[in-house]
C-alpha cells in the first residue's frame, strides 16, 4: 500500500469508521427528508386505487390557481429580496462606520431576525388592522393615504403587506450578512485609496461595490430560495387571502392537502415546487462557481 500521509487512506476498518460517523445523519435524512419527497412523487403519479396516472398533473397544470400561486411566489420572492438587499446594503454601509452605540444597534438588528415569523406576523396583523391598528392611521395622518387603507382585505395591499412584514424581518438580517462582507475587505485598500486622493463616493464606486458583488449575488440567491418557500408569514397574516391574492405555493399545498383533502393534487404541486427549487439551485450553483472564478482573489 503506498503511503501518502501519516494515516493511510484505506487502513483496516476505514469504511466501517466512515459509516459510523455518517450513518446517523444519513438515516435521519433518508426517513424524514428523502422518503417524504419520494412518497410525494409516488402519490402524484397514482390514483387512489394505486394505478399510474398523469391526471393529478393535468389537474393542477390546467388550474388557474396553481399558476397564480406560482406567480405570487415568484413575484413575492423577487420583490421582497430585491428590497431587502438594497436597504440591507445601505444599512450595512452605515453599520460599517464608527459611531456611538454601534454594538447596541447590531444587537437590535438581531431582534427582528430572531422573532418567530408566526409571532411577528401576528404582531403585523395587529399593526395593519383597519380600525385600531396604528399603521393605516399613520399613513392617513401623514397624508400618504386619503383614508386609512384596508391592508389585509384589499388584494394588492395584502400582497404589499406580506412584503412589508417580510422586509421588516429580513432587512436587518441581510444588513448583518453584508456587513460581514464589508468587514472582510482589507482596511489598507481603503487607506491606499485615501492616500491616492479618493473621496467617499469614489471609494464606494471603485472599491466597495465591485468587491461586494460576489457576496451580494450569493446572499441574494440564497435569500431568494428561502423566500420561495414562504409559509408562516402568509398563513398567519392573510391565510392566503383575500381570495387567493397572497396564496403562495407552500400555503397552496397546505390548503390542497389539509383543507381540501386532495392529497394527490397537493403531492403534484409539491413535486412541481421541488422542480422549481431544483432549477433555482442549479442556477445558483452554476452562477456561484462562475462568480467564484471571476472574482476569486
Amino acid at each position: 500500500m503506498p503511503k501518502r500521509s501519516a494515516i493511510p487512506n484505506h487502513e483496516k476498518g476505514y469504511f466501517r469508521a466512515v459509516l459510523g460517523f455518517v450513518a446517523p445523519v444519513v438515516v435521519f435524512f433518508t426517513i424524514f427528508q428523502i422518503y417524504p419527497l419520494m412518497k410525494n412523487v409516488w402519490l402524484s403519479f397514482t390514483t387512489i386505487k394505486g394505478g399510474f396516472t398523469l391526471n393529478n398533473y393535468y389537474q393542477i397544470l390546467t388550474s388557474q390557481s396553481f399558476w397564480q400561486s406560482t406567480w405570487i411566489t415568484v413575484s413575492f420572492s423577487l420583490i421582497s429580496v430585491s428590497i431587502e438587499m438594497l436597504i440591507g446594503f445601505v444599512f450595512a454601509l452605515l453599520l460599517n462606520e464608527e459611531f456611538h452605540g454601534r454594538k447596541a444597534l447590531r444587537t437590535v438588528f438581531l431582534i427582528p431576525w430572531a422573532l418567530p415569523t408566526a409571532i411577528m406576523a401576528t404582531g403585523w396583523k395587529f399593526l395593519l388592522q383597519h380600525s385600531y391598528g396604528p399603521f393605516p392611521w399613520l399613513l392617513y395622518w401623514l397624508h400618504l393615504a386619503k383614508s386609512p387603507p384596508y391592508f389585509l382585505s384589499t388584494p394588492n395591499l395584502a400582497f404589499i403587506s406580506i412584503i412589508m412584514a417580510d422586509a421588516w424581518k429580513t432587512v436587518p438580517f441581510c444588513a448583518l450578512l453584508l456587513l460581514a462582507g464589508l468587514q472582510a475587505i482589507p482596511k489598507d485598500l481603503y487607506e491606499a485609496m485615501q492616500v491616492d486622493g479618493a473621496g467617499w463616493f469614489f471609494q464606494l464606486r471603485k472599491l466597495t461595490i465591485p468587491l461586494m458583488i460576489p457576496a451580494i449575488i450569493v446572499t441574494l440567491m440564497f435569500r431568494f430560495l428561502q423566500a420561495f418557500g414562504v409559509f408562516d408569514l402568509i398563513w398567519v397574516l392573510t391565510s392566503g387571502g383575500p381570495g387567493n391574492a397572497t396564496m403562495a405555493l407552500s400555503p397552496f399545498i397546505y390548503q390542497q392537502t389539509f383543507n381540501w383533502l386532495d392529497v394527490r393534487a397537493g403531492a403534484a404541486t409539491s413535486v412541481m415546487m421541488a422542480i422549481y427549487i431544483l432549477v433555482l439551485v442549479v442556477i445558483v450553483w452554476t452562477t456561484r462557481s462562475y462568480i467564484g472564478r471571476r472574482y476569486a482573489q
Partner: protein, 275 residues
C-alpha cells in the same frame, strides 16, 4: 467631515427606528387597557398603564404549556443534531472520505426544499405510528431539517483545525472516534455552541410542522399557540393579550441574542454567505 457625521447619525436613527417602531406599537398595545387599545382611531402614545393583558394571557391561554412544549422539542432536537451533525462534519472535514463533497452538496441542496413539499407523507407516517401529538413528531423532523446547516458550519470550522493535530492523535494511538471526541470536538466547541444556538432558535420558531402534527391544545408549541389564539374568539380578537403573549415569548430569544450576539452573527455569516 462634520456633515458626514451628522448624516451618519441621521442614518443610525433611521435604522434604530426601522427595527423598533413596530415593537413600540406592540408594547404600547400590550400595556393599555382594552378601553384605550380598541379606540379608533388608535392613540399612538401611552395614556394609561395596566398589567391586565399580561395577567390575562396566563389565565386565558396555556402559555406555560406552550413554552414547556417548545423548550422540550427545541432542546431535544438541538442536542441530537449537534451530536450526530458533529460526527458527520468530522468525517467530511478530517477523514475526507471519498464522496464527502457530493455528500455535503446533497445535504445542502435537500436543505433548500421547503417543509411544505414533504409535509403530507410525514403526517401520514406519524399518524400510522400514532406519533401525532407526541413530542417525537416534532423532534425527529426538526433534527433532520437542522442537519444541513449544522454539518456545513461544523465542517467548515473543523477544516480550519490543523489536520496535524488529528494525525498526531492517530499516530499517538487513538482511534478515529477517540481523536474526534478528545481532540477535534473540544477544539470545535466555539462552532458547536454557535450551531446549537442557531438550531435552537430555528426549532423554537418553526411553524408549519408544529401546526400540522400538534393538534391538541396541550401539545401546541409557542408559535402555533400564539398565532392560533385569534381564532377562538369570534366576536373580537383579544389583541392586548395576544400581543402580550407574543412579547413574553420573545423575551427568551432576546436574552439569547444579548448573550450570544457575536456567536450568532459569526454563525449566520458562515452559514449564509459561504453556504
Amino acid at each position: 467631515m462634520r456633515l458626514k457625521r451628522f448624516l451618519l447619525y441621521v442614518g443610525v436613527t433611521i435604522m434604530a427606528f426601522y427595527c423598533l417602531f413596530p415593537i413600540y406599537f406592540l408594547v404600547l398595545d400590550s400595556i393599555e387597557p382594552t378601553s384605550v387599545s380598541y379606540s379608533s382611531p388608535p392613540i399612538l402614545y401611552p395614556v394609561a398603564f395596566t398589567f391586565s393583558n399580561y395577567i390575562g394571557v396566563f389565565e386565558n391561554i396555556p402559555l406555560l404549556t406552550y413554552i414547556k412544549n417548545s423548550t422540550i422539542v427545541s432542546l431535544s432536537a438541538t442536542a441530537i443534531v449537534v451530536l450526530i451533525g458533529s460526527m458527520a462534519a468530522f468525517a467530511v472535514a478530517k477523514i475526507k472520505f471519498r464522496g464527502s463533497n457530493p455528500f455535503m452538496n446533497f445535504l445542502l441542496i435537500l436543505g433548500f426544499f421547503p417543509a411544505a413539499t414533504m409535509i403530507f407523507p410525514l403526517y401520514e407516517m406519524f399518524a400510522n405510528f400514532h406519533l401525532l401529538n407526541n413530542y417525537l413528531s416534532l423532534i425527529l423532523p426538526y433534527t433532520s431539517v437542522s442537519i444541513p446547516l449544522t454539518v456545513w458550519i461544523l465542517a467548515t470550522y473543523f477544516e480550519q483545525i490543523p489536520t496535524a493535530l488529528y494525525e498526531a492523535a492517530r499516530v499517538d494511538g487513538m482511534s478515529r472516534f477517540q481523536a474526534f471526541y478528545k481532540i477535534i470536538l473540544p477544539l470545535g466547541i466555539p462552532a458547536v455552541s454557535t450551531v446549537a444556538i442557531l438550531n435552537f432558535i430555528a426549532c423554537w420558531n418553526e411553524f408549519i410542522l408544529a401546526l400540522t402534527f400538534m393538534t391538541k391544545e396541550n401539545m401546541r408549541t409557542i408559535t402555533v399557540g400564539i398565532s392560533m389564539i385569534s381564532g377562538r374568539f369570534s366576536y373580537q380578537y383579544p389583541w392586548g393579550e395576544i400581543i402580550a403573549g407574543a412579547l413574553l415569548v420573545t423575551v427568551p430569544l432576546v436574552i439569547i441574542i444579548f448573550i450570544a450576539q457575536e456567536k450568532i452573527i459569526s454563525g449566520l455569516t458562515a452559514g449564509a454567505i459561504k453556504g
